[in-house]
């Protein structure tokens, strides 16, 4: 038997807080490494020049004016959901239900467009869409919040499960309102009358969403940092007991914040249906409710930084899609590249919070 004590080659230790520039160097390094790996994979698979791969990636986002608009629109929508989940996150209430809250907003907007079309004037339909989708998102988040405040249920699981309920509801109504009959699809709603379609601003399809989300972003920054509510959220997030001690009604803050969170998600759903897509499918939110979690985390729940983190993620995924198309690869290849990139970005957070220490050969710990 070997009696020597075996020491692992390295061990992991928690870091003291890094200065901000060091953590950004690590993040930048992660993105760079992700890009190199993506280039390598594409080159190995297709035999294409890696530079051409990066050029396509850039072109995917900035190649034409339309792509630039799409990039901005995608950033706006991702940012909108990210801003929505942020107040809850600051309170350390893990709202993973952004997807479902936005989708239920989509459902209500589409319902108004389909059911009220021809019965109410266009402006009234739009008002109904706005009210109902925001309300629906708020209710979808309010239910788990109520149970969290009242019975201390686990909000992570509860909100997550509400996503599936929303997806199935949408799938159900896609069949109820199918057009044409038997197809199981809704298609574009009111294509000829354009009832419930939000007006274009300056003839630009995506400008309205971008403006609305920019306003929300500024408002959220002010709300979180300069209002009493924002302060209460921060205190509850730090310590519920402290909050209770200073006289904050914790349950009330939880419900209020989650309802706000859900209402903004519902608004994102409204914008997706009313302003951009005019349709309803179970995949309409495109996973933004989950990507938003990452956007918010990477930006340390700072609304202004979130603009940058959403830009990063949207840019990378649009680029990955463009690579797949340009090199005649399956669109799933784009998903693989996005996966690689996200893996590196999330991984970088590990290296920011922890460090790896090599164990010295003498068996002594460092």
């Amino acid at each position: 038997m070997d009696n020597k004590v075996r020491n692992p080659l390295f061990h992991v230790a928690k870091r003291a807080a890094l200065p901000w520039y060091k953590s950004w160097v690590i993040r930048f390094g992660a993105v760079l490494a992700a890009l190199i790996v993506c280039g390598l994979i594409t080159t190995l698979v297709t035999g294409e020049d890696p530079i051409a791969v990066y050029v396509s990636m850039w072109e995917g986002s900035f190649g034409t004016t339309r792509r630039l608009w799409v990039l901005l629109q995608n950033i706006a929508m991702l940012l909108c959901v990210s801003l929505a989940v942020t107040p809850a996150f600051r309170m350390r209430c893990w709202n993973l239900g952004g997807e479902g809250q936005a989708l239920i907003g989509c459902l209500c907007s589409a319902a108004c467009m389909i059911l009220l079309s021809g019965k109410l004037p266009n402006w009234a339909v739009i008002v109904c869409m706005i009210v109902s989708s925001i309300l629906a998102g708020a209710i979808w988040a309010g239910i788990p919040a109520f149970f969290k405040a009242k019975y201390n249920t686990n909000e992570t699981l509860f909100t997550l499960m509400m996503n599936y309920v929303a997806t199935q509801l949408v799938a159900y109504f896609c069949v109820v309102w199918e057009n044409p009959k038997g197809s199981g699809q809704i298609g574009i709603i009111n294509p000829n009358t354009q009832i419930g379609w939000f007006p274009l601003i300056g003839g630009q399809k995506y400008l309205l969403n971008i403006i609305v989300v920019a306003l929300i972003c500024v408002a959220m920054h002010i709300y979180l940092n300069y209002t009493k509510h924002g302060y209460e959220i921060a205190v509850v997030g730090e310590s519920e007991r402290t909050a209770r001690y200073v006289g904050i009604k914790v349950g009330r803050v939880i419900v209020r914040t989650m309802v706000l969170s859900g209402a903004l998600c519902g608004l994102a759903g409204l914008l997706l249906v009313g302003s951009t897509n005019h349709t309803l499918t179970p995949t309409l939110v495109e996973g933004r409710g989950f990507t938003a979690v990452m956007v918010a985390w990477l930006a340390k729940f700072n609304p202004i930084w979130m603009i940058l983190t959403s830009l990063l993620i949207v840019f990378l995924s649009r680029g990955a899609g463009e690579i797949a198309t340009n090199f005649e690869l399956n669109q799933s290849f784009g998903d693989i590249l996005t996966g690689v990139i996200l893996f590196f970005i999330i991984g970088s957070e590990f290296f920011i919070n922890y460090q790896i220490k090599l164990t010295k050969s003498g068996g002594k710990e460092e």
Binding site: G63, T64, R66, R67, V70, C108, A111, C112, L115, L116, K119, C128, V131, S132, L135, I139, V175, N179, P180, K181, G182, S183, G184, Q185, G187, I188, P191, R252, T276, N277, H278, T279, T281, T283, L284, T325, E328, N330, Q331, S332
Partner: protein, 420 residues
């Protein structure tokens, strides 16, 4: 807090009322058909194209799935072949769902310089129309859609093929196989039950299974059929489950209109003969595959691309047929097919082309025990599903005459929908 809850409840009730109100709406009056039917089936001679004309064209394709789906694979092979024949540049986009993703993909193809864009799935249609409205200088060609002749857009076109003729031929092969099984004493005449797996319960699928059944019954008069739907174009699991359900119900031969290998592999395991769609399954299922019908989209794509290169206008609808080569049968699997199948199919094919046999001949089927002498089908698609066009013409249902996409949606005697 109570006030807020009261407000929320009040609002919910208002919306609930709105929702109820819509159900009592009066059915709309049937409009007269006012559309010029613009349905063409002439092929295009690509040898007349000059190199300069070809250079002006770039083609984009949108596929619902990738090459794991038999339907998409068939469409994709045709796309590559047509573009190679003409020598034109092309871009493929696979796995594009029937949602806003389709509009995004179409817009991206236009952005990439495509001046003609094809999409292959029924549910892509309204998103293609949206793109067609936004990019009037680009031609949008949508396979299997129904709205081109009513949409009034000069740059939006539908295409389909008279695949009901192909399925009728497949049905004849199936009927012959049933006869062989009866003769060999494997089943009795009244056990000649066919199982059919459909994707969605609308005209395209109904037209398909009805023609298949009529083909089978033309040679095996005691044949009956059970139909079940998966509500998905591509789901190996659901199609396999459907096959098991039909086989357990006593179906002795299967066919399908769904795009995976789920059902064929199940048939091969259980030794149930089947007729396929989109392409041959002889390699994977050598002991049960009889024959398959498929649409050869190459002709259609050459017509559309060729005319765009020439700067000619395109018809609202284009219909491929047995005669112009767009409807085909794969090779017959002689190990499984009944003896004499090839000769019989050749004979029926000639008769179909000559018009001596009509697939939807009203003397060959009944509804509720009665012959059908008048039927208004929903041909003009305005999203209202109103039966608008008399489709029984000269003793047959005029399928793919007014528009390329099928409009036959009559539930005839002898076919049971087991999901209903």
């Amino acid at each position: 807090m109570k006030k807020i809850i009261a407000l929320v409840l009040a609002a919910v009730m208002v919306f609930a009322l709105c929702a109820c109100g819509s159900k009592t709406a009066e059915p709309e009056a049937t409009p007269e058909p006012t559309f010029p039917f613009d349905n063409d089936s002439t092929p295009f001679d690509i040898s007349t194209l000059t190199a300069d004309e070809v250079k002006t064209v770039k083609v984009g394709f949108i596929f619902l799935h990738d090459d794991t789906s038999t339907y998409d694979l068939n469409f994709m092979n045709a796309a590559k072949e047509a573009c190679k024949n003409i020598g034109v540049e092309y871009v493929l986009k696979t796995n594009i769902p029937e949602g806003q993703e389709c509009y995004d993909a179409a817009a991206e193809l236009v952005d990439a310089g495509c001046n003609i864009v094809f999409a292959d799935s029924f549910g892509h249609e309204s998103f293609m129309i949206q793109a067609a409205k936004e990019f009037p200088e680009v031609q949008f060609c949508h396979a299997t859609g129904t709205q081109a002749h009513s949409a009034g857009l000069p740059n939006f076109h539908n295409a389909f093929a008279t695949i009901f003729e192909g399925r009728y031929l497949g049905g004849v092969a199936a009927g012959l196989k049933l006869n062989q099984m009866i003769e060999e004493g494997k089943i009795t005449a009244d056990q000649a039950k066919i199982g059919y797996i459909g994707a969605y319960p609308y005209a395209e699928v109904k037209s398909g299974y009805t023609s298949f059944f009529l083909g089978a019954r033309s040679v095996c008069p005691s044949a009956t059929m059970e139909v079940t739907f998966t509500n998905s174009w591509f789901s190996p699991d659901l199609e396999k489950e459907a096959a098991i359900k039909l086989i357990n119900n006593g179906c002795v031969l299967l066919s399908e209109h769904a795009d995976s290998m789920g059902a064929p592999t199940e048939c091969e395991d259980k030794g149930i003969p089947f007729v396929f769609y989109n392409g041959s399954a002889a390699k994977d299922c050598p002991n049960t595959f009889i024959v398959a019908s498929r649409i050869n989209w190459v002709t259609f794509m050459e017509v559309m691309i060729g005319r765009v290169a020439k700067g000619e206008t395109l018809n609202a609808d284009w219909t491929g047929t047995l005669a112009n080569g767009a409807v085909e049968l794969t090779e017959i699997n002689e190990n499984v097919a009944a003896p004499g199948t090839a000769e019989k199919l050749e004979e029926v094919k000639k008769a179909l082309i000559a018009g001596e046999i009509k697939v939807f001949d009203t003397s060959t089927f009944t509804v509720g025990g009665k012959a059908v002498d008048s039927y208004f089908a929903d041909v003009n698609d305005l999203g209202t599903f109103t039966p608008d066009t008399e489709s029984i013409v000269n003793g047959e249902f005029a399928e793919s005459v007014f528009r390329s996409a099928p409009s036959f949606d009559i539930d005839i005697d002898g076919i049971t929908n087991i999901d209903a």
